[in-house]
Symmetry: C2
Subunit: 311 residues, 2 copies
């Protein structure tokens, strides 16, 4: 699914839709997967981008990237999709979206910060609060701390008074998480990285993981009795060699989660307003430099969200 | 940990304890694991047996096999143990137990049936209702239908109006589950057994699994969006090659569970009284024939509980 920057005709808003002049957008791993053909239900000729902020009649709006979540809070329905595939997304100068997808840009955020919030903020919020019931004093492990969801999970957990540890392959990213308030971290590319982390943290009430793979068995080893492990991604591939005995003796819950309902989205925005959360921006590129942005995300170099600024 | 039948002195009840004259007891896989040395924290010289019915002053009592569950409903505390290791259990003529562990034998049950209920009934109840929130109309898959927990899960789910399917390696056991009211089943030793089952059932809201192992990935494939999978045992060994993507797209919950709190035990007994559940007895042996009973359980030949009758 090769990407290109091209001229398109102005979108024609349908019933209930408005056309936004886009100001900023943000990348998600989803966009990179799509560009590699590694995503379900791909169609060609679609403008990518799930996150963005645009202007209409002089007012700035974030866009709720959920399309047709459906009637069940617990899971998305059959007709669910995410903005930016199969419907045109935010990596454009103009975008037609249903009016009910618009949320006023939080006043404490720049357009770049607001553009960075929706998809990753929603995923982190649902994982942490709707699946794992995080509360003050909980001990929380967030894996792969550079990623957007991971960083929001870290910030949200710190905001309610939980203690947070992070994993990364980069000492610099652990250091940056600690500057935000994390208690510590571990380098998952070192052997037996979980041993010291378990001693230091005494195990975790909550683990937020976007990787799976072979490392997932260490998450289970690090879980306290009654722990909740939310899994929202699978960059590490298939989960292998996990022990049923560890899962049932410790009564661990492994909770698949992705995105969230419109209700979750409302709660997440309210939470960000209440706690004055500032999304972490890794880098901002002009739309014309989209290739640099995609490359940076694909290499996993980022700490926080990668933003595109529209001309 | 070799077993033997031997004469012991009468137990001396401690403070708050009473001595029961035991009438019947029931085997659990736990007893077989212990006899093979495959259980944590083993001690020698201990009478096995977690399930039983005994008499005191002419009244018959079931015994709650939980010892010191602890303060958290979600998981057992550090000092938790199960009757029959490390403290003397029910495979004896006399047993001293704390009075608060006694529950009057349900009037609609024989002593053998009541002896068969506690451990497996508690495990099934917690898995089905406290972890998976089973309700009328749910589609429920129970794996390994001969086992005690599996059979109770099947009976309990049918009692509330759920639809139940079962897996087994034995066509006869599937047939017997259908005689109890199950809608159908599949033979897990046949290749691609899950394909027809998925078509027939349209997938499952709830899966109750005591095996794990390689077959667990098929449980995930059979799960509907939002499904809960309770895992209470690991006879199939380590879980391998499960897809994070299937877990998070379908927002599946994998819930480790074992036994249950004292509160769960009270609820389970009330449920059995309300629905007049009759535990399925596979076979009854005199205590002297304990070796036949252990062999039958070890070979997985049973359909329901294996009972020992005391002299």
């Amino acid at each position: 699914m090769p990407l290109e920057l091209t001229e398109m005709s102005l979108p024609q808003p349908g019933g209930g839709e408005v056309t936004l002049k886009m100001e900023a957008a943000a990348l998600n791993h989803r966009d990179v997967w799509i560009s590699k053909g590694l995503y379900p239900n791909l169609q060609s000729g679609v403008v990518l981008g799930s996150d963005g902020v645009g202007t209409k009649d002089g007012r700035q709006y974030m866009i709720n990237p959920n399309q047709n979540w459906g009637p069940h809070e617990e899971f998305a329905g059959r007709n669910y999709s995410i903005l930016g595939m199969p419907h045109h997304g935010t990596f454009a100068q103009y975008l037609a979206v249903p009016r009910h997808r618009l949320v006023p840009k939080p006043a404490h955020l720049t357009v770049e910060e607001a553009a960075a919030l929706p998809l990753a903020g929603l995923t982190a919020y649902r994982a942490l609060f709707k699946k794992c019931y995080a509360k003050a004093g909980d001990s929380v492990l967030v894996s792969g701390i550079g990623g957007g969801v991971a960083l929001f999970a870290c910030q949200f957990a710190l905001a309610i008074g939980a203690k947070v540890w992070a994993t990364s392959s980069s000492p610099d990213k652990i250091e940056r998480a600690m500057q935000l308030g994390a208690s510590g971290g571990a380098l998952y590319n070192e052997s037996n990285w979980e041993v010291g982390l378990k001693e230091e943290s005494r195990g975790f009430d909550i683990i937020i993981d976007g990787s799976g793979g072979e490392g997932f068995s260490k998450m289970i080893a690090l879980a306290r009795p009654g722990a909740r492990i939310a899994i929202y991604g699978g960059t590490g591939g298939k989960i292998t060699a996990i022990s049923p005995q560890q899962i049932f003796w410790k009564q661990i819950q492994i909770l698949g989660t992705t995105m969230g309902s419109d209700h979750d989205f409302e709660e997440m925005v309210a939470f960000v307003l209440q706690h004055k959360i500032k999304p972490g921006i890794d880098a901002s590129f002009p739309l014309q430099d989209w290739q640099s942005a995609f490359t940076r995300m694909d290499r996993g170099q980022q700490f926080g969200k990668i933003v595109l600024k529209m001309p």
